[in-house]
Each structure stands twice: as C-alpha cells, then as structure tokens.
C-alpha cells in the first residue's frame, strides 16, 4: 500500500508526534520506502507457523506480591520539567 500524507498525519497523531508541515513530504517519502521494503514479507509462506514473541518462547515470570520499592518521589521528581507540591503539572485538562 502506498502511504499518503493523510495516512502519515493519522499515524503521527496516534503516536502523539508533531511533524512540521515543512518536514511532512520527506517523512511520507522515507516512510513509504520503509513500508514498501517490509512489504516483502507478504510473499513468505507462514501458513503453518506459530507467531514468536520471545526468542526462547519463555513465558513471563511471576513474583510474589510483596513490596520491594520504597518511596523515591522527591528524588525522581528532580528530573521532572515541572512539579508543584510533589505533583507533576501539565496544562489544564478540565475547565
């Protein structure tokens, strides 16, 4: 399938990624080449093959439901661009 500007704008919205109008044509062109390249896979016969999600087919290990972490909020928030009273701040969501 050939990607259009509209396709790419939709994908970028899903990914919450702003692409400037000046860059969009270049992104459409390069992404189009990547999609065309991975489309080669469509010709592979995988009819009797189970999908593989983990290289050793391991399943997720479970652990006991015990507290292993202590409170590091103040330490972690030193990396935050904007905090107030121990809370992360963002533009107003509710009027």
């Amino acid at each position: 399938m050939k990607l259009t500007r509209q396709n790419v704008e939709h994908i970028a919205h899903l990914a919450r990624l702003e692409i400037g109008q000046a860059e969009l044509d270049g992104v459409v062109e390069k992404l189009g080449r990547i999609v065309e390249f991975v489309d080669q896979l469509q010709s592979a016969d995988t009819s009797a093959v189970e999908p593989m999600a983990h290289p050793m087919d391991m399943s997720q290990r479970l652990r006991a439901d015990e507290v292993t972490e202590t409170d590091h909020r103040d330490h972690y928030q030193q990396n935050s661009p904007a905090v107030a009273d121990g809370l992360y701040t963002v533009p107003r969501v509710l009027e």
Partner: protein, 486 residues
C-alpha cells in the same frame, strides 16, 4: 610494565595492577588524559566524569592494597550512554534525555562497579540505539579512528571508537540488531553480544525489549570473557532475565578445537559481500581448519526475511517503549503548550530526531487497527522461521561463522539519506537477535586499509564455546593487535 604496550588489553592491565606495577589512579589519569587529547577528533564520549573516576580509582587501589581485588578492580572503563548511571547524566544520545540524571544504576553498571571497575565516562551512540552509523546521535557523529571521514558503525559507535583508539581498554555496548558486533567489526576490535536474557536489561534504556541485550567491546575474547563473568546472571528486576548459573568463561579458554564443527551458511558468502571482506573471511576459516575444526556447509533459507522482519518487530516494540517520553515526568518538555495533547506532541516532536521518529511511526503503523495481522503477526511468524533455521543448523555444528558486515566502514553521510540501505547493513547480525543467540565479531583482516570482522554465532547460552573459538583464533593471528594510526 613490559606488557603495557600502546594499547594494553584489560587482562594485561589486570596483571600489572595485581603485581602493583601500576596503580589504578595512574591508569585512570592516563585514560582521562588520552580522552582529553584525542576525543575532540573522535567524539566518542558524551560525558566524561574525571572526579568520580579518580575517586573510584583510589577506592580500587585501596582494595588492591588489601589484597581484595578481582580481575576488573581498578580497570578504566566506559559505559555506553544507554546504561543508567546514578547521579550521572544518561542521555541515550537524544535531545529528549540531554539533561536526564539517572536516579539509579543499571544492573550491569552496578555489577561492574562492585567488581571495582573505574568508569571514566559515557560513550556516544545512535539516538536510542537506532542507527548503524552513529550519525543519528543528538551529540554528533563519532569518527572511525582508522579514517575520520568514515563511520565507526553503530549504535555502540562511541564505545567501539574509544576502545579501538586506546582511550579505554573496554566498554559496554548494547545489541538489538548488531549494535555491538557491527561497530566492533568496522573499527577492528572484539565485540560480544550474549544470549538474550544472559545480562540483565534493568536500567538499560529500552529500544526493542524482545531483542535488546547488553554486551561488551574489548580488544580480545579473553577480556570479553572476564567482563561477561561479572555482568551476567539472573536479575529479578528484569522479567526476561535467564535464571541459569554463569559458567567460568575464562576456564574454557584454550580447549582444543579438534573435532569441532563450524557451520558456514552459504547465504552468508553469497553476492552482496564485498570481495576483499569475503577473502578475509575465507582466510580466517582456513585458520580454523589448521586448528583442527571441520567446516560444514549449512543453509539459512529464511535469511532474506530477517531485515524486513526486524523492521516490523523492532519499531513496533520501540513505539511502545518510547511512549513513556511524554514531556511530563522527565525528559524534554515543550514550553508554552496550552493543551495536554499539544504538550505531548510538541515535546516528542522536538525531543526525538528524524530516525527515532521514523521508527516510532513505522511501529505505530504496523500495530494500528487493520494492519496488525498483515505486519506484526506476519513478522512474528517469519521470526520463528528464522529461529528454526538456526535450530536446524546447530543440530550439526558447534558454531556458525561468517561476516559481521557486508562492507568495511562506509563514509559519514554516505547512507544517511537512504534508511533502507542503512538497514541492509545489518543483514548478517539481525537474524542472530531475532533468534536470541549469542554472537561476536573478531578482527580477521583488512579491506582497503579498513578492518574486517569475522562473526561467530553460538547456540543459546553457548558463550563459553564462542569465547574459546575466538580466543584460539586470536592466539593464531594478530589482526586484533593492529592499532589505528594516531
């Protein structure tokens, strides 16, 4: 100090430290001086930490004086800037994390620090490890010490260049599709990627979680074995960490290769491999025959599916992993957004470079409604075909050998505008990650004055045999001792 040549190995430094011929402070100060003198031209480091390094060196010297040191105690070392280091900036080569100071250490970092290693800094890399040339780094490309107009490969290009240039004897790397082995090949050093799950991924900034694996870039296989012994092992903080004992890798070095079988995939030596590189690989295989090993023809019929499969699976996982960068809790934030959606979109649009954005978009596309089965599920099935190819091969051989990269180091700028050409550079390394196998690259010759790497691939958890195969090759050849021009 007779053993300490212009570019001493980690093992030689270790012996000199144990014999008290040199102190860690002297080695560390010398490494810092080399970085200061040479790295403007190479750009292999993003952050250098002289004060922390000298303090760690003094602690190592005290430990050695008490007779409590191990083989890594006091060795100057560098970490790829994808590993979280407590109190030290950890950028992952991205504007997004340009000011991020990690609150904790990655498990691999913690284990090496406990062994007494001395970290002098953090090395440059492709942004979020997405690249094969180091040109996607927000901090500028790394230059290949053999020819500064050429790429050192990527994504662990900073670690590779720093070790090849003798700035540090070894460094960590990570390998999702070849990011340790390919740069090791392109700068003429040893690069080791263990089996998936062998080294904890905790604190290693995630790219594609079913493929990412930590490893090392060193001057010799012996040095890699010493480092992996300290880094490997079960970690409850990594949900896919392998719960298996770690063998004594160094003890396996030197065993005879008589009767061992090396599989040569015919697809690896087909057209596409640069002729002088192919000649170097064939010569390396003759060395193995002299060492008593038998060469066996094998086939990987699904090899051609590897790169397209990878460029569905890896971007899909990347688009999920990188959704955490939202401009809210840490990382780059766009100032002046009036809505939360605008904050997300602008922070991510500004914080991520072009290649990372392409991967996020590709991943979002292949996972989106209506395309999941055709792309993502199809790729997961093709992934099994590739893994099955290797399983069939390892029923009859001990290791698989072939090239690491299709060409020697390419020029900076040569492939940067053509993502698909750049992706195809990893044709020989990507299938190994898809199958979760251990792989390594060892120097095996030159093409036009540039290093060529021999790739060795083992079965799951076959690290010991790989180290020995590479070690015996390095006893027979001197390619790994060739030093780039100053």
């Amino acid at each position: 100090m007779s053993e300490l040549t212009s570019r001493p190995t980690l093992a030689a430094l270790s012996r000199a430290l144990a014999a008290r011929e040199v102190s860690s402070r002297e080695l560390t100060a010398a490494a810092l001086a080399r970085i200061g003198a040479a790295d403007k031209a190479l750009n292999s480091f993003i952050t250098v930490t002289p004060d922390l390094a000298l303090a760690a060196a003094d602690r190592a010297d005290a430990r050695l004086a008490r007779g409590e040191g191990g083989p890594l105690t006091g060795i100057p070392f560098a970490h790829k800037d994808i590993f979280c280091t407590a109190g030290v900036r950890t950028t992952c080569g991205s504007k997004m994390l340009a000011n991020f100071v990690s609150p904790y250490d990655a498990t691999a970092v913690e284990r090496l620090s406990q062994a007494g290693i001395v970290t002098v800094g953090k090395t440059n890399m492709d942004e979020f490890a997405m690249g094969s040339s180091n040109e996607t780094s927000f901090f500028g490309p790394v230059r290949n010490p053999w020819d500064r107009d050429r790429s050192p490969g990527g994504s662990s290009g900073g670690s590779a260049a720093a070790v090849a240039a003798g700035l540090v004897p070894a460094a960590t790397g990570t390998d999702t599709g070849g990011s340790i082995r390919q740069p090791a090949a392109l700068v003429g050093i040893t690069g080791f990627k263990p089996t998936y799950g062998r080294v904890s991924r905790y604190g290693m900034i995630a790219f594609a979680s079913s493929l990412d694996q930590a490893g090392v870039l060193t001057l010799t296989a012996e040095d890699a074995a010493l480092l992996l012994a300290a880094m490997a092992g079960f970690d409850p903080r990594d949900s896919t960490s392998a719960d298996l004992p770690v063998p004594d890798y160094a003890a396996a070095l030197g065993g005879s290769l008589a009767g061992k079988r090396i599989g040569i995939p015919k697809e690896f030596l087909d057209a596409g491999l640069e002729p002088a590189s192919a000649a170097a690989i064939r010569e390396a295989l003759r060395v193995y025959e002299r060492l008593g090993a038998t060469l066996v023809d094998v086939t990987l019929p699904s090899l051609a599916l590897s790169v397209p499969t990878y460029y569905i699976v890896a971007p899909a996982e990347c688009s999920s992993n990188l959704s955490r960068f939202d401009g809210v809790r840490f990382g780059h934030r766009h100032e002046g957004a009036t809505t939360l959606e605008e904050l997300y979109k602008k922070s991510r649009g500004e914080g991520f470079g072009a290649e990372v954005q392409r991967r996020i978009l590709t991943g979002t596309y292949v996972l989106s409604a209506g395309y999941y089965d055709a792309y993502y599920l199809k790729a997961q099935k093709a992934r099994r075909l590739i893994a099955n190819d290797f399983r069939r091969c390892f029923a009859g051989v001990d290791v698989i050998a072939g090239p690491t990269a299709p060409t020697p180091a390419f020029r900076l700028g040569e492939k940067v505008d053509d993502p698909v050409q750049m992706y195809l550079n990893d044709i020989y390394t990507i299938p190994v990650n898809l199958a979760g196998l251990p792989g390594m690259s060892v120097p095996c010759g030159f093409s036009g004055g540039l290093p060529v790497g021999l790739q060795l691939i083992g079965p799951h958890f076959g690290e010991s045999a790989l180290f020995n195969f590479a070690h015996l090759f390095q006893r027979e050849t001197d390619w790994h001792t060739r030093v780039p021009p100053a």
